[in-house]
């Protein structure tokens, strides 16, 4: 670790762009902020964590020997003896030998621990006191103090800490306690930022508002609701800061800038360094003491963070995925109507596909089971169900783009006559984009923020169709015009954050159809958009689908969308298809209670009603009137 305040592993800083360090909370804070904070005894859990136990034992031994130094030390640590200079370790009466001035190394090591540790502790206490109080005031009250303190923090961070310490030493002379107190001030931003982030995070939480309305004073709100939030991160940060303080304290003394009357590990290192050619082993003992203390406290901090993160995890996981005790029931299949739209050849057959995720305990958790789908050229197959029903997973499995840990565990996927469930990455690359294309749900997060829209559109075209840059650009502009972007040249040169969500979704649609795919997979393509834009985007999708005569899988939770576009519908629940068939027959006669429930939902959902009434002359009207 380099010795200075700036190199402090500041979680806030590291987690994010330096220019907006306050937007992203410290992971530890974020965990502490997760609403149901499980009551855990951190100390007990650390004893069970191997790294935590090791680090705590190590630190306990170091601290104990330092505390008990007067009892353990065999001799006066400052007693120099010219007869016994640089005696070997193990010599009778000198456990670890003597140093360059004939002082007992073991006695010095023990006594130095007291000063080195106490000095570091002083720095941590000063840093924590200033940082926490400043952070609380700035975060809770804001205003001018907020601006001033963040300015002071950046001022402190601007110079290497050791340079400031050297300058201070030039003025006030050597002194362990003064220099460590000054260093504490220099380290205070570490605590300031942590507290500030946490406090500004909870300040506007409902329960804090409620407490304020209930008439609690600011002091008791801070004490009750806010300090509990920062407690864990502050303990972790203290351990980190302690290791830095030990290092810098030793560094100063190693440079010979400390108080020579006080034995410290750094001072011993200085003595050893001067005798490096005569007795190199003198370096070993203080190095071990400094190194083990620093490593011990950093490992402890890491173990604490791990334990806190682990206690946050189960809550998250339960909230994310529903119960998937997949129950088997008969799939309700509607008979094919005798007449219908002219359809082309079969493009995709998903046959009894199951999808599972590898768990950390080695088991596989199934999220999709025995799913069957067929898509013909020119056909729009709606996959409908609520979130967590496995419809998006099914769509990803066709492209082999399941999130990490997920895989197709059974069944087969046939695309244009070829088996692709077990296809290699190279084979899939030839299909993706050119044969099978994808339109995502959330337009903004699906465009790379660092590249212009134009470069993101042309990059795959140039690679996939071996076009020159100019040809690809001409094609991209034509596509942007086709999808209804009013000023395609400007959008081409723009970055994703400069266009609206609706525009971004049009860009993604342009990208998806850019290589005239046979199959288009649209994953909730309108869910993230404004109601008015939804209708336009659906129109565009319908037009493009007809124009290119594509097969299409439309993933949605909205029967209004299904009514608008789909020829065929499969209803998914808990990873299984419960009802499937021609869209008109399902609308006419929804048999499964879950289908009926989804169907009823559109009548309540005001955001869809426009869609629904607009297409009321179509299948929906027919279906619902019966």
């Amino acid at each position: 670790m380099s010795i200075n305040t700036n190199a402090l592993p500041d979680p806030v800083e590291e987690a994010t762009d330096s220019l907006e360090p306050r937007d992203v909370p410290d992971p530890a804070v974020a965990i502490a902020l997760a609403p149901p904070i499980p009551k855990i005894n951190l100390f007990k859990r650390l004893l069970k964590n191997p790294m935590g136990l090791f680090a705590m034992s190590l630190l306990a031994i170091i601290v104990l020997t330092a505390v008990l130094a007067p009892l353990l030390a065999p001799a006066d640590p400052n007693l120099a003896s010219l007869q016994n200079v640089r005696v070997d370790p193990g010599t009778k009466g000198f456990l670890l030998g003597t140093d360059g001035a004939g002082r007992d190394v073991w006695a010095r090591l023990l006594t130095a621990g007291r000063f080195s540790l106490a000095g570091a502790l002083l720095a941590v206490v000063v840093a924590a006191a200033i940082g926490i109080v400043g952070g609380l005031i700035a975060g809770y009250y804001g205003g001018w103090f907020d601006n001033l303190s963040s300015w002071v923090v950046s001022l402190i961070m601007a110079l290497p800490g050791i340079v400031i310490l050297l300058a201070a030493r030039a003025v006030v002379g050597p002194g362990l306690w003064t220099s460590m107190a000054i260093f504490g001030v220099l380290l205070s931003p570490a605590f300031f930022r942590l507290t500030y982030t946490a406090v500004s995070g909870v300040r506007n939480e409902l329960y804090v508002d409620a407490a304020r309305v209930a008439g609690l004073s600011d002091a008791s709100i801070i004490g009750k609701h806010i300090l509990t939030v920062v407690r864990a991160p502050v303990i972790i940060q203290s351990a980190q800061v302690f290791s830095i303080a030990v290092a810098i304290q030793s560094g100063l003394d190693f440079l010979g800038l400390g108080d020579l009357a006080i034995p410290t590990w750094g001072g011993m290192l200085n003595d050893g360094f001067q005798n490096i050619y005569l007795k190199a082993i003198l370096i070993l003992w203080p190095s071990l003491a400094i190194g083990l203390t620093a490593i011990g406290s950093v490992l402890l901090a890491n173990a604490m963070r791990d334990e806190l993160e682990r206690s946050g995890q189960p809550v998250k996981r339960r909230a994310k995925k529903g119960e998937t005790g997949i129950e088997r029931e008969e799939i309700i299949t509607h008979p094919e109507p005798i007449t219908g739209k002219e359809l082309g050849e079969v493009l995709l057959v998903v046959d009894n596909v199951s999808i599972g995720y590898h768990q950390s305990d080695g088991s596989i958790k199934h999220v999709v089971d025995d799913v069957n789908l067929t898509v013909r050229r020119g056909e729009v197959h709606g996959l409908i169900g609520e979130s967590g029903s496995g419809k998006t997973q099914t769509a990803f499995s066709v492209m082999q783009l399941l999130p990490q840990g997920g895989e197709v565990t059974g069944g087969s996927i046939t695309f244009e006559g070829e088996q692709i469930a077990q296809a290699t990455e190279a084979q899939m690359m030839k299909l993706r984009g050119t044969k099978i294309a994808y339109i995502p749900q959330e337009p903004m997060s699906n465009l790379d923020p660092s590249f212009t829209i134009g470069s993101q559109l042309t990059e795959p075209i140039m690679l996939g169709q071996k076009l020159s840059k100019a040809e690809a650009k001409a094609k991209a502009i034509a596509l942007l015009t086709r999808v209804g972007i009013p000023n395609p040249e400007r959008t081409y040169a723009a970055y994703p954050h400069q266009v609206s969500g609706g525009m971004a979704q049009r860009v993604l649609i342009a990208g998806a159809v850019s290589m005239e795919p046979d199959l288009l997979i649209a994953d909730e393509p309108t869910t993230a958009l404004d109601v008015t834009v939804q209708a336009e985007v659906l129109d565009l999708l319908r037009e493009l689908q007809a124009e290119y005569n594509m097969g299409m899988i439309l993933v949605t939770h909205n029967f209004g969308v299904v009514a608008d576009l789909c020829d065929r519908v499969s209803v998914m629940r808990n990873g299984r298809i419960v009802e499937t068939g021609n869209a008109a027959s399902i609308f006419a006669d929804p048999r499964h209670e879950y289908t009926r429930m989804l169907f009823d939902a559109i009548l309540d959902e005001t955001s869809v009603r426009e869609d629904y009434t607009r297409t009321a002359s179509g299948a929906v009207a027919e279906g619902s009137q019966k």
Partner: protein
């Protein structure tokens, strides 16, 4: 873009003025009787007063400061109280030595960190675990301990490198590399560890982004998305850490130069501190602050190039 640079330059200049003002006030007003310190306890009262007049110490601190600032702007940082050397000259001759150490170390750290961080993020499993534990420990060990270890093993026992001293690159490029290898290694280990952890985290984060899946769905190879899109997006946060590490290394170099007896800014800082050579300390603070301002400006410009949101703001 122009106003972005202008704003950065102004805030850098403000920072410099504030730092030098604070440093000057503390150094000149906080240290008690400076002339007495220089002349020693034996000197007569008259001699001390004479010295104080000579150095202008009897004048109000603010007028001393305005003099200093006026000269500093013209590149004159005064004269050392102890050996009469021009501070500007003393500092600039040593600047290149320290910068060659720090720039060397930051380059090595950045390259190693990209390699290790990306490996850890993509491979996961045992490689990830080894790299992570290694990074935690490497970050915890003070760099002067690393330096002492390197001296003992590679210079004293194996005699592969010189233990001390510095050779100008103009004199002999091979011996220059030989003389800075161990110091650079000692300086870069902690930073490598920090930046590796940052890059690992950013890459894992970027891999989870929706646009990575969408780009792959359009036919880009996994490797291409990593090296073009994921690394580009992970670059901003990593660069921010690198900037912090650079400032840290300037401090770390103070101790490392002492271990290897390298005549850089660090060595002269320790000497000036021990002697209480205030003009020299003042000059050093200024030079460090200027380096920090320049580095931050450079990083901001690269950030702007990497991140269009920053550039266009």
């Amino acid at each position: 873009m122009g106003s972005f640079i202008a704003r950065r330059l102004i805030s850098g200049a403000v920072l410099l003025v504030v730092i030098t003002t604070l440093a000057f006030l503390l150094l000149y007003a906080g240290g008690g009787d400076i002339a007495r310190k220089i002349m020693g306890d034996q000197a007569t009262q008259e001699a001390v007063a004479q010295k104080a007049r000579e150095l202008g110490l009897n004048r109000p601190v603010l007028s001393q400061y305005s003099d200093w600032l006026r000269h500093a702007v013209q590149g004159d940082l005064g004269v050392s109280w102890f050996n009469g050397q021009q501070v500007t000259r003393a500092v600039t001759t040593r600047l290149s030595v320290t910068l060659s150490l720090v720039i060397g170390a930051i380059t090595v750290a950045a390259l190693l960190a990209i390699l290790l961080g990306v490996t850890a993020a993509l491979r996961r499993g045992w490689a990830d675990r080894v790299i992570q534990v290694g990074a935690v420990i490497a970050q915890a060990i003070p760099n002067f301990l690393v330096a002492l270890f390197l001296v003992l093993v590679f210079a004293i026992n194996l005699k592969l490198f010189r233990a001390t001293g510095y050779v100008q690159p103009a004199t002999n490029i091979g011996r220059w590399i030989n003389s800075i290898t161990l110091p650079v290694a000692a300086l870069c280990i902690g930073s490598t560890a920090s930046v590796t952890q940052q890059i690992r985290g950013s890459v894992i984060d970027a891999l989870r982004q929706d646009y990575v899946r969408t780009l792959r769905a359009r036919g880009l190879s996994f490797r291409r998305t990593i090296f073009k899109h994921v690394l580009r997006n992970a670059g901003g946060p990593a660069l921010a850490v690198l900037a912090v590490q650079f400032v840290g290394m300037l401090g770390g170099a103070v101790i490392i130069e002492q271990v290897f007896a390298i005549p850089g800014l660090g060595q002269i800082s320790v000497l000036a501190t021990q002697q209480g050579d205030i003009p020299l300390v003042m000059g050093l603070v200024l030079v460090m602050a200027v380096i920090v301002v320049i580095v931050n400006l450079a990083i901001d410009l690269i950030q702007g190039w990497l991140n269009p949101k920053v550039r266009l703001r």
